[in-house]
Amino acid sequence: MTPWIDVICILAVFLSLTLLATHRIVGMIKIFAVQSFFLGLVPLFLHGGIIAGRDLAVSLVTMVLKAGLVPAVLFWELRHISMRSEVRPILGLGASILCGAVLIAVAFWISLAMKLPGKLESSLVLPCSLATILLGFMTMVTRTRAVTQVLGYMVIENGIFLFALSLFDTMPVPIEMGILLDIFVAVFVMAIVLNHINEEFERTRSTGRRPRWGES
């Protein structure tokens, strides 16, 4: 089943790059949801087509959380913010893709030296997850809106998730669940903080004092 995983890996990187180059927030959330959905499929291909109950559970939890709940929270958040589109990214389209390409190259170059201990399904997992992480990072760096930064963070998490799947058998379940829970709570807390910021933002704007908040 390795080819499927390879395809998903490449798809993940590609989607991250697209996300990096997209300017509309709604579009970015959608791309993220698609990426998460594909990643949710990975556990199903892990053991050569044999789908265990545990695989299915992980796959479902991932899809529900990442492809469903998180985008929903973000959309909900977006509804509270009047502006729907990114005002202006720090880097333009061309430069973003160029930087992204460089980061992908770095990720692959680093992976050259790394020899996986033979039990990983695909040799593309490490470079692709690294690239996804770096691209997510890049998204955070180049975007000026808080929501887009959360999105970037989620892309990083997706990269990590992709890699974590390769360790699926090594890690005991409680830890794994703790990790997933943590990530969810992180996003949740971020959402709450964002909400507070928003309220504060509206309040201060109604009093006429516009706060200096990055660019947003």
């Binding site: 980061l103 770095v106 680093i110 770096l134 990072f137 760096v141 975007r143 000026t144 930064q149 990055g214």
Partner: protein, 575 residues
Amino acid sequence: MEKIFRGPWTVPFGECSLRLDPLNLVFLAAIVVLVLSSAIYGTGYLRPYRGKKPLGIHAFFYLVFMAAEKPAVRQAGFIYLIASHCATFFLFLMFFLMAHAAGSMDFDVMARTDFPQAVAALAFLLALAGFGVKAGFLPTHIWLPYAHPAAPAHISALLSGIAIKMGIYGICRVLWIVKTLPGWCGYTLLALGIVSGLMGVLYALGQHELKRLLAYHSIENIGIIAVGLGVGLLGRSHQVPFLAVLGFGGALLHVVNHALFKGLLFLGAGSVIHRTHSGEMDHLGGLAKTMPWTAGFFLAGALSICGLPLFNGFVSEFLIYFGLFTGLRELPPEGVVACSLGILSLALMGALALACFSKVYGIVFLGKPRTDIKTDGTPEGTPFSMLLPMAILAALCLWIGLVPQSVTGLIFGGGTYLAHTDAFAVRLGTVLGPLATVVRMALLFLALILGLVLLRRLFLGTKPLPVRETWSCGFVAVSSRIQYTSASFARMIVELMKNILLFRRRGGQVTGVFPGKAHMKSSVHDASEEMIFRPGLALSNEISKKLGHSRIRYTQLYLMYILLFLVFLLIWKLK
């Protein structure tokens, strides 16, 4: 001679032990005398201030700067704070360096170690940097003229007499521990001493405030001490033990002497300020009439600090000169050049110090009062508790000047200890003999003075002599304001050196046939303060302000730093 006390105490570095050896004996002697006299003085001096803030405690922590009103004083204090902070760490770096090379943190073990040249040189430089700040070497001396005047007189005496000597003590200790110093160290120390001494006395000459002037003289005397140490070090590194003992001994004696006469001078200045509430020399004058005792003691201090015969300053300078002249004969050519420079600068320091103290004494104590000095009208006005310490110190100055044999044991003990040589191998007789003759000549001199006074009495008879006004060449409308002031007295020397001294003069131009009122202001500024430290501080402000403005607080930027660092590490470490 050597005693060690060990305490049952663990500090984070090991245990705590105290020791007594010939070196700290010398410093202890100075400390005990000066602390005692200052304590007595303080009881009288602080009486009018009772109930106010205890400034003295502040002074001990040098925080006196910070409480000051003037921004310049605070800035100097700030510079000192920074410098001494650096100094502390330099010293510890030096200590660790030596400990690392010696394999132990015990001074005794270190002293037995033969350090590699590089370590020795580095330790020496660190010691100079570290202790130099405390001692007030140029160019890190700038805190000193602010700090010492700010404190009450007896504290100033302690600061000047003892606190800065701790820096000298530290250097001595390092010289003792590190036996294998390279040859250039002696030259460095000598050069540092020459520069500090000359600049110190030149700056002093340009001052108008009594205690500030005295503070600059501390820098000069530290310079003389450093010249002595440099000579000693030259002697040690060229294997001329006699020279080494002379240099170190002279320097140590000057440490003691300086504590005595500078203490005396500060106490005297304190009495003047106590009485007149002013330390501005150009406001004072004629105090010898109203405060005869203080004037007398101050004169003793002035004679001592100028290194004139009969007083202690001459003895220590004699030893250092003797060392330098000996160096002319026994050192290699570069040493001869260094010694010649040393002699010349000592001579110049002596002449300038003489000019400076004739100015101080003449302006403050002689002539007529330049302004209405508010005094309470009592004959002396200085309480006995303030006079007694001055008397003690003056007596000690005279004692060492007339009976130097009483301290040579102590001094040369310290000198041989520092020189790491055997006392018997040294031709001490060749210097003790002349010293004895000097003393005999001094006594003869006193006898001659007595004789001439008697002769004069014989000529003049006992009838009271006529007293008139000073003859002012026919000019009748004489006011006391017309007298020479401290600024005008020093003007010729200061103008000759104006490129070094940053001499500034404003106004003073008289124009027209019937000139109106004119105003003139002249002042001397510290070059290292004005040209190095203040601009440096301003520059650092400027830079950090620029950085502060360009400091963008965007999260994106924060994240980018992390990304860059991560990528940097990945590329650096995994290549």
